[in-house]
Symmetry: C2
Subunit: 431 residues, 2 copies
């Protein structure tokens, strides 16, 4: 409606008195991936390897419905053995989490994870890991001072968006990855002034997005040494660790942490369902308590309904059953894609076979990833060019890369998609 | 666990190399209300008038369950007449909202509200109004510059928390309320330098929390004049407008807005259920588009499951049915409390009878609200002292006040609670 459009928010200072200055935080760039996804919308002929979504067809919708039915009809008991009242599902939650979910989660972490016994004050329920990334940046990066943050190069695009929105005085330091993940040993050699202003190190140790790599045990330990030496906290973000298709589970970074410098972020988006918007943050009591207060100002609390449903889902052991269902399916898809890549992409680049997760990272010999995206769309396949995953001012040669997702398409579609991508590479290679 | 506690986050600079400076944003104070609520936990003998929650017993849990059943079994059609797939409920949502919810919401607003036809670009789904308050502050207040924001005195405590966390350079200007709401005409007389750095005016026009007042039509129009004159945007936050117990609905501030200076925030916490964590922001396309990008970094999106369930709830007309159910119950409670106040509190203070909402604001003649809170707890009734609702540096005389909630207790309990509060006032009056 036109009447809402005459008031200018910070775009044209010449417009006179109806001019309002937006804060620099409002300048955050929309994710390139979002724009890429919009190109593919309403074009069913395009096979998309551009997303990063779990397969909707495999969510446990019947199980969640049966849980809501039992919760609504007083058939579920909470952690203290008391009947859960239907009305509680729809009420406000405490900022730290609904007690039933909070206690179920804490018990599950203590049983399942390798970072020892968490006390209640070490744990916070968040509206999925993204909220943790946002609040952590808010807690640690004073936008009015010089600061730096260390991330992988490449790294998770939404963490780059968080950092990009935080401050004009922030340097994002990208540490290159190899087949064993972030080359953390390079951090020792960073200039002292960059380390002195470094607020934290962001790591996705297991089946990195976008690189698909797993950080080696040696490097996990070394991250702790670096953190201890320079007094820099570590965010350990583990969205994909539950999706392991081969190899033995490694210890978490937090497992090696004796001083409490690690903060664990865990979303349930891949462990259960992204639509629930739930995750947790674990760390020192002091930090968790401060972030809880910030969360209260940010969203008050996560959805009670979703917390009750997920708690009961976990209590019934259905989380692990869900993983057991999706893992073979995703493994087959990954292998189908990797086989097709051997056949069609070998002349144009190289890749590390992932042991889990949702992505294969393609390093191209000569072709720019964004150019490949545009050529691939003409051939009805969508990918994400590598440039989206690197901090600003990265070496442009690194943009000869692309992220390929295999979780949304069946093996036949994936083979077709990779064949088309090979044709797109061939077309560019001739130019 | 002790191992997480040795790493110090910004508290004791003397601790050597494991010292990390937290940003000033991390210094946000926990809400005093939270602390008050913790005093009352596990003490069933206390009747609490301290909260602000809808009555859990009245949420439409059976209706929500029937909706989830229909959604899961393919019995619901979206806005384009297509069958909704169960898997979509659990998938990521677009940042602006699940299309089915977004379109249902937009159509509902256009039919129900008085601010004209919204186009899609004017609308954004948020994780309840709190997220809107947080993102709006982030968009408008540059923490590295001088700024001011105008709020009511008293005003919503969680907006004060948002502003308190935003910046050390922010002046919060409180404009006193009378029985017709914020005395907006006083804004004209503010010093020019305060107006020049003013980023927005925050208003809860209908059944204010905590004051219970309704902003008069004259003042709504005057806010638009002020906004136009000084180029200051207005947030119109309307959590309680659906809970009207008497009187005719007034036009929204946005209705009088011809230049697009108003941003509407609307939570569904009182309109349907707080546990869903859903609301919307409506405003100019430019602003909404920027806030959408910030929302993406903050939480990615609101819960898909909850958006589908609420959309179908709205589509079936159950929102209005819910209001029709709760309004007579809350009206009866309010009247019971007001009757008891006439009987027991007349010597100690005065109050404006609200026409809706969840609160009565008690202005005390001589008694400090926090002192009354402490005395009242001894007599097994909990209230919130007025000091929580005023910006820092407000006139301490204003803290002779308290917020009384009537939505969680039945009439008999409310009469007992007010009788006890009268006894607490009497005890303090004698001192």
């Amino acid at each position: 409606m036109a009447k809402h459009e005459k008031f200018s928010y910070g775009v044209s200072p010449g417009k006179g008195k109806n001019y309002v200055q937006l804060s620099h935080d409002a300048g955050v760039e929309a994710s390139a991936i979002r724009e890429i996804l919009s190109v593919t919308q309403g074009r069913p002929e395009i096979i998309s390897l551009a997303g990063g979504l779990p397969d909707s067809g495999m969510f446990e919708s019947e199980k969640f419905l049966s849980i809501l039915s039992d919760l609504t009809h007083g058939k579920c008991l909470d952690h203290k053995g008391r009947k859960i009242e239907a009305g509680d599902l729809y009420q406000y939650a405490p900022s730290e989490g609904v007690p039933f979910f909070f206690e179920t989660l804490n018990a599950w972490i203590n049983k399942t994870e390798d970072f020892g016994t968490l006390e209640n004050e070490n744990l916070l329920v968040i509206s999925a890991a993204q909220q943790g990334l946002d609040l952590f940046a808010k807690a640690f990066i004073d936008p009015c001072r010089e600061a730096s943050v260390i991330v992988g190069a490449p790294t998770y695009v939404a963490e780059l968006n968080v950092l990009g929105g935080r401050s004009g005085n922030l340097e994002i330091i990208g540490i290159p990855l190899d087949e064993k993940g972030m080359q953390v040993e390079q951090i020792w050699d960073l200039p002292k002034e960059k380390l002195a202003k470094c607020k934290y190190i962001y790591a996705v140790p297991t089946f990195d997005n976008p690189a698909g790599t797993e950080l080696s045990e040696k490097r996990r330990k070394e991250l702790i040494d670096i953190s201890n030496e320079f007094g820099i906290p570590i965010i350990e973000d583990e969205p994909y660790a539950c999706l392991r298709y081969e190899g033995k589970k490694l210890h978490s970074i937090m497992h090696y942490d004796d001083i409490g410098c690690t903060v664990r972020l865990q979303t349930f988006s891949k462990m259960a369902a992204p639509g629930l918007r739930l995750g947790y943050m674990a760390g020192s009591k002091e930090l968790v308590s401060r972030i809880r207060v910030m969360l209260q100002s940010s969203t008050l609390c996560a959805s009670s309904l979703n917390q009750y449903m997920l708690a009961e889902f976990m209590r019934r052991g259905w989380l692990e059953q869900y993983w057991a269902k999706v893992i073979p399916v995703y493994r087959e898809r990954m292998n189908a894609m990797l086989g097709a890549m051997d056949e069609h992409l070998t002349p144009y680049g190289s890749w590390v076979k992932p042991k889990g997760g949702l992505f294969v990272w393609l390093t191209l010999n000569e072709i720019n990833g964004d150019a490949l995206f545009r050529e691939a769309i003409k051939k009805n396949v969508a990918i994400v060019g590598g440039s989206s995953f690197f901090p600003p001012n990265s070496d442009k040669k690194l943009h000869n890369s692309a992220r390929l997702n295999f979780s949304k398409s069946n093996p036949a579609e994936l083979r077709t998609a990779i064949e088309r991508l090979g044709a797109a590479c061939a077309a560019l290679d001739k130019k």
